[in-house]
């Protein structure tokens, strides 16, 4: 494996992280909630696809047809029941309740599915790759994931800028008080945002499951990576999430190139460096509310 290979693979890995992080970024941008259960929800997507394979013989791609609508409903209900109340209860409470959810989901998955690893079958595309040189080979499936990530981000972008739902999302994110004064029910808007977030998480989970193995403990790990991608790219910026995912992916694969056990470590260190650099440059604005931006703007 050469360094160029590592970097290319890192960029492609960025697609996975971007897909995973999209929902996290959306929920933060609209509601200022960091959903600690995000990775766990993605994992439920993967396990659902697994179950649909075992009990209904569906391929993961077909399973998505069932999973995505289901995830939309789950997200909507989650917001209207748990998260809405958490938001009202105080700024720290959503963190505590989503953390509780993370613990519950992880352990329930452990009970139902045991600690064994599973994976999903990507089909023919899973074994295809393009050989560019003796040292560089590009897996087609990873390119597909990157493509899906870009399509999802682009679709979300269009939703935000061209549709009524998107308008209402942006307005409520910016000023929920005034949004209600022009007739918008903010609870419905938030529920739609969470529905979309959970749906993208489930989608990401299924693709993640096709790309690598997963087990009940994968939820928290993927949450951390998704969060790192969001922070590196800039809290509240959608396309920044793609950028952040790519930076993280490259850091990780380069680390693995140095030594396989340095994979996650390099990612974490780059995350910290970006954090410190941003803090020094922007004098402590990190983590303060960042508005959901129209494409291209950096979050400040």
């Amino acid at each position: 494996m050469s360094w160029v290979n590592a970097v290319i693979h890192g960029i492609l890995l960025g697609g996975v992280y971007a897909l995973l992080a999209t929902g996290l970024s959306l929920m933060f941008g609209v509601m200022r909630i960091i959903n600690l259960a995000h990775g766990s929800l993605a994992l439920i997507g993967a396990y659902s696809a697994y179950e649909l394979k075992v009990h209904a013989g569906m391929s993961p791609y077909v399973a998505l047809v069932v999973i995505i609508p289901g995830a939309l409903v789950v997200g909507y209900v989650l917001q209207r029941t748990l998260l809405e109340r958490s938001l009202r209860a105080g700024p720290l409470v959503p963190l505590l309740t989503t953390f509780g959810l993370l613990i519950i989901i992880g352990n329930l998955l452990l009970k139902i599915f045991s600690p064994d690893v599973h994976s999903l079958d990507p089909g023919a595309i899973g074994s295809k790759s393009w050989r560019i040189s003796s040292e560089l080979s590009i897996p087609a499936f990873d390119v597909l994931i990157l493509g899906v990530a870009i399509v999802v981000l682009g679709g979300l972008q269009l939703l935000l800028t061209r549709t009524r739902i998107g308008r209402e999302l942006r307005a409520t994110a910016a000023d929920p008080d005034t949004a209600e004064l022009v007739g918008i029910d903010s609870r419905t808007v938030y529920a739609r945002a969470t529905a979309i977030a959970v749906a993208t998480a489930a989608l990401a989970g299924v693709f993640f499951g096709m790309r690598s193995t997963f087990d009940p403990a994968s939820g928290p790990t993927q949450l951390i990576y998704a969060f790192e991608a969001v922070v590196i790219g800039g809290l509240g910026s959608l396309w920044g999430t793609l950028f952040g995912g790519i930076v993280l992916g490259v850091a990780q694969t380069v680390g693995a190139q140095v030594d396989p056990s340095y994979f996650a470590l390099f990612g974490h260190l780059v995350f910290l460096v970006v954090l410190v650099a941003r803090a020094l440059l922007e004098a402590g604005t990190l983590g303060l509310p960042a508005r959901l931006r129209i494409p291209g703007r950096a979050a400040t």
Binding site: R32, I34, L95, L110, K111, L269, A279
Partner: protein
Amino acid sequence: MRVHRWTPPSLFFTGSLSAIVIALFFVPLVMTDSVMQKLTSLFILVILAMMWNALAGYGGLVSVGQQAFIGIGAYGTIFLGHVHTVAPFLAMLLAALIAGAIAVVVAPILLQLRGGAFAIGTWVVAEIFAIVVALDHKLGAGTGTSFIELNYYSPHQRQQYIYWAALGTAAVLLLALFLLLRSRLGASLQAIRDDEEAAASVGVRVMTGKAILFVLAGLGCGAAGALILANQLFIEPSGIFSVDYSALMIFMVLVGGLGTFDGPIIGGIVLYVIQQQLGDNGVWYFVLLGAVAIAFALLLPRGLMGTIQDRLGLRLMPVGYRLGKKA
């Protein structure tokens, strides 16, 4: 009108608590090793709860990464006691101090973050330490290691010393928190919690206040980690650096009462009782903890002691002020 710090109920409670702590010191002389070990576990839980409460309840900092310092305390003890043959209990003390020192280094970075970003930031720090430790073969790498230096003592002696170390640590931290909250820092922390911007505008050093809490929590969790190692003798990275410890801490503090002084103690006792009934490792144990924590967060946000405080107007520890009539 006179401003009182002590009220009759708080005098009674503080007196009782001190009496209980003193009485507990004599337990090893009369009780079995099994009782001592159980109480030691309880003291460790109370320490963890106190520290998490210090961060979240007094500083508004929700951390899901305190396991970083638990692990540093435990592995620091191994590093000093096993690799460098420092006397076991001295190693534990030094390891706690090392954890505090690392908290000093990490604080300026992490405190740039707010809310959920801070939370996950602490988790990332914990993961970093878990990875670094797991790569070190002298520390036993991924398979874990034992604190065999403690075998120098007889089992009974060992249990006694660990018991006293745990009780002593809990008492010292309790006292430290008490003094902290009654000091000027305590008042400024209350101000920070109420309204950070307003507090900063009247000159409260917001960052310093939070940093002090963060370092104290790091030190306390480090001590707890060293005690956990001593109490269970064997640790491995994925266990001692596990986010499950954060789950336990959040549960104890939410149930006991976020931001109250006595809440963590009650929360620790509640968790301890649950652990004795359900065992502390199963799936349903954690599902229960998670569900109860969520229920408390949404339905009884002030926790048990907080609600009692509110309903009865009672403050068991004299860390606030009361307006009185006597001159």
